[in-house]
Symmetry: D2
Subunit: 304 residues, 4 copies
């Protein structure tokens, strides 16, 4: 498979493609990003990296961090985790609070905010220095020791977290939150404010394409069974209420963030990351989704 | 891969496993089925059929028929179909009417009843003899000319279709239904009342594992791109509000029916069908889900 | 109290008042009404009728008919009726189907469509000639033998009743509907198509202001306890999701119809009817609500 | 009207009546109350007080306090208040968060918790010493300077206010909350922890039966137009999702609290208060509702 030629095709298509999406504005600091940035990196198990554009420039990974925190929590808590958070698609964006109320404080899945906050609560309970250990985990699976948090983004988000505080208080009223709410919010905002490049995201996600092991040295991070589960949750819940559309068009598990990043996994084959800040109305990178759809169309294969 | 030995293991586990589910009772005729029946058939692209139990006994395929009708409608209408029915998971069982009301008569996906009724409306519009042509399509992809409808089940369901009539009237009030409601209900009940065995279902679904072509003679039924889409919809929407759980535990696209059948697809590898009438609270075959989870665990591979 | 002078004031205010509402259009025949029509009639227990405008012109009473059918059903079935329909406000317009689904086919109150259809089902069960007997009841309490149905409106509505058919089928699936759906729809459309003038509505509603008896001859129609209940339901449920606003601004029980009519009751004092076709976004007569608010403000008394 | 004889009848009926309700337990301190306590006081404009049982014993007024805070806020802010909180019934108990999310942080009415918290936010903004001034207002309209907060209850509730914190954070995310969340919660818990007797509540509520003026000295507290509005809101929203039932059975505006108190108003006639701690499943005093229904049945008149 001539991946570089396929990426070249995608690059030329992206350059000509009009964009109607807009950059996320609810976090003031994120709104300042250059909307014309585009980067893409494909990391193949057999043949290494293919890239174009700003694939080495770091951006705010935001909700993509939920995959890393879920991975850590699964290793720390095992199946018990899924007594506190379910694995079903949530249906629609308005449902988070609705469903929490009907379903007694158990979030639908670990990738909606409510679920990611429960995962954060677990990490705050189980780790001595949650922030430091989270950052170390990301550095380790990426082999990139300079990865860090953008503290300006972190401060900006921290001041705008009333909705997340509402979710945590509601879940606490149902007995599903164990730590102090401010401590959880603080950790959660921290994990979302990590910055990585497309290339680094592809490297980090390689554990989900490679049976739970880092590709470089085959260090085991996660059991194959848990890899299957993380990928399955990405497939059904990775794109809010556009998970079906992504699955339908792209056919790969993946996770998006409001910073404009998306990382996808083709188990046994490759990982792929794109970055383009303008978001479609469902909150996913508009050009990012297009680029990934073209990838599985041009290569002619997906997991389906 | 020694599939027969794996199926033997599953058979011995199933025999000892207690069952808490109950047979579907809202259709009186379906309630008469023997709850202890169990059949399983795996159909491998490279090595043919593996079976145990009542794998040759026909049962009511019910909602599994929605995959066949979707396939026909995609071929007849192309992408236009997805302007009338979306491809997102629906969230929960109560949502069908709720979401239809909020979302102006556009069903969430083709596998909830509302969506399958829209697909039926399309077939009624596009086919001269919808019932006959539907049955012929199923016979053709299965290579089994004796497949037929159970008319006792058909009559029994036809008398209990108030909920489906409610869905159709609601969608008609939004302008998303074109044919007479009784005609659509009649066709829809017909398709649900088809009877097939596990082996026949595995044969029929082989087109979704084999890039859209029948395995025996490589007759093309569906384009590879549409195969990807059908499989993607099965993955995210094939099990009502348990789609996430099935994906999480089994890791394959599939579709269940209230008759107790489930058929799953491992693209490029095999199809597999199970039949066990007692349903779990979400309406999916309890032992069927267990058998498929054991299959991907014992083989050590799924699409993830 | 100089009611005529108060009505004169209201008339002069109404003439100058701009209108932003629009005439109901979902029933084609109703859309043809002259939007500038306005009529008002106040019928005082102690001092008779006061009027202005088109107070003698008949119009389509639509949902105001639900008060009459509820009255008949309460007399026929007694408290048993309230096992099949509740007496709580429904919250919002979208809730009808939502609540029916969550609450097992029991409508919130007799004035949302779902509830009025249950009342219609009761009348169809209990009356030999439901249409004739309904019309006779209305003629009797109004002392106006020429009241009749507008058959053009009736035909027009009958062809656009998919939403009501959806409600009936849903409630039938829960076992709360006993008669044939078309028969109920037919009767229900008939009752809604009755035409009356403001003056006739004020006369008919006098039984709710006069302890259940006609004013002219003190014929007993309804027990005082049931009068209290009908008035209470009008107060809390008479204006869809604007019941609170009407109660807040006007302070009287009442019932509106999409034909632009509203009739209100001040128990022990008077009844009052207004007619103005343009509806506000909640489906209630815009000028009608204003006129009634002015009435209780200028008289300085309401039930509160 | 021989009110004392009617109250005697009610007392004898209450003594024999079995109770299935239970005392509110979510606030530990409230759960300690003696469930057999019963008090009733009727305060007639023309003829003074009638009582039986523990009508002089103070209890936790809880949500009844929302009527007092609404009154203060209406005087401070005028109609502007109703841009921040609506006056419609909320439909059902689960709706609070659901509706807030759909309706952009504007609560349905001032008597659900979300609405009362907005009213509290207004008082915190407008008053120099909100707690002191609130208590002074209640003392003044009651003519009872010893009324006070139960600080044990206050502390107990303050520790269990996660649900209210969730509501406030959600409304703050929509821009409808101006003060610090802890400050609002603190004031709101304070107002709920006030203790009053049935006799004191009847005296306080006399302003709503007497056109806005205290009966003793005709001091004007509220304009007649605002009295109409407060009574209208009590009528449609005073009993959570049982407002329709209360209106239907009792036919008077009123407000209940989880401490087991209910106070009702017959404008121009009387106020009446009952206290009995066991609550029905909707959260209203079981015997209290019964006693008030008997009162309007035995007197033969209500506002309807």
């Amino acid at each position: 498979m001539d991946y570089q030629s396929i990426l070249d095709t995608i690059e030329s298509e992206i350059e000509k493609r009009p964009v109607s999406g807009v950059v996320a504005s609810y976090i003031p600091e994120l709104a300042k990003v250059d909307p014309t940035k585009f980067g893409m990196n494909l990391f193949c198990i057999n043949s290494g990296h293919y890239s174009f554009g700003a694939s080495d420039q770091r951006f705010s990974i935001q909700s993509i961090s939920k995959v890393f925190s879920l991975t850590m929590a699964m290793n720390l808590l095992g199946d018990e985790l899924f007594e506190r958070v379910d694995v079903e698609p949530s249906g629609d964006p308005f449902n988070s609070l609705v469903q929490l109320e009907y379903e007694q404080g158990i979030p639908r899945n670990p990738f909606i905010n409510a679920g990611a906050l429960i995962v954060a609560d677990v990490l705050v309970s189980k780790l001595k220095n949650p922030k430091e250990e989270f950052l170390n985990f990301v550095k380790k699976i990426t082999d990139s020791p300079s990865i860090n948090v953008n503290y300006t983004v972190y401060e900006s988000e921290r001041k705008n977290s009333y909705r997340n505080a509402s979710l945590l208080n509601l879940m606490k009223s149902f007995g599903n939150v164990y730590n102090d709410i401010d401590t959880i919010l603080d950790f959660y905002t921290f994990q979302c404010s990590v910055e990585m490049s497309c290339k680094e995201l592809s490297q980090a996600f390689m554990i989900y394409a490679n049976g739970g092991k880092k590709l470089a040295d085959q260090t085991k991070i996660l059991s194959p069974e848990r890899v299957k589960r993380v990928n399955a949750i990405m497939q059904t819940c990775g794109f809010y209420d556009e998970a079906g559309e992504f699955s339908f068009r792209v056919g790969l598990p993946g996770k998006s963030g409001v910073g404009g990043g998306i990382t996808s996994v083709h188990p046994g084959q490759y990982t792929v990351s794109v970055w383009s800040p303008p978001l479609n109305p469902k909150g996913n990178s508009e050009l990012g989704m297009y680029a990934l759809e073209r990838l599985t169309t041009l290569t002619g294969f997906s997991i389906f």
